[in-house]
Symmetry: C2
Subunit: 112 residues, 2 copies
DNA sequence: ATATTCAATAGATGATTATCTATGTGGGTG
DNA sequence: CACCCACATAGATAATCATCTATTGAATAT
């Protein structure tokens, strides 16, 4: 649907979602999401599935948590990561709505 | 679902989809998709909605067409762009499947 | 044919990204 | 207390990306 109609007041809808989409737009982060789809994992477990180093994973997880796709529980030494399915679904719903040729503007639709 | 299980033979599933996701991972390209959701537009019409220059739009459209999200009909001087809804839906379905905690591997599921 | 119009290409630049090595921090354990 | 262990941070680098100006190419109109 046309979201941009309605002026710049809502321009950051594009920005916000672009940030999240960018966060998952490389193969490694897609794989992280894929692994987490089966349940919580700590960083060390995640790292076993990749060829990159621990700081690189740390960086990826920071990006994924900052955009809200992944959450973390810190218990003692371990970080337990898991998908934030609500936010992930919001992203998917954004993409679905974006393509739908609805009439009207985002202002008039119940949006997120 | 865990897609990576099954070995490197399918590793490019991440790569292919990451490429498409990256293609739409900036605000301008999301807005282009949004505009095209209401129907075909030629490049000049699209350009009116943005502050960047014609070569920049040309570059964006190249990226969007190369990844299959947008198609183009060239008639005379004009390029008429429109969403490739089938490919767009494939992308959305990929994201949906990625999150679902199905058992099994991509090899055993009817995939694209 | 010459000018006009729409789009693509070339080449440059600044910003962002993915990755590394090296080091720091802070919670457990012996 | 001294040492591991899991993770974060700092700083560097090479690659990619979004954007620009300038130019070229190609189809149409006069």
């Amino acid at each position: 649907m046309i979201i941009y109609v309605g002026g710049d007041c809502l321009g950051n809808i594009y920005d916000d979602n672009a940030k999240t989409i960018k966060a998952i737009s490389d193969p490694s982060k897609l794989k992280i999401v894929d692994i987490l789809s089966c349940g919580e994992k700590c960083a060390s477990d995640l790292l076993e599935h990749f060829n990159f180093t621990q700081p690189t994973l740390s960086h990826h997880m920071k990006v994924l948590t900052e955009c809200g796709v992944v959450d973390v529980k810190k218990t003692g030494l371990w970080n337990h990561y898991f998908l934030n399915k609500e936010n992930y679904n919001k992203l998917v719903m954004f993409l679905v709505k974006l393509m739908k040729n609805n009439e009207g503007c985002i202002c008039e639709v119940n949006w997120r």
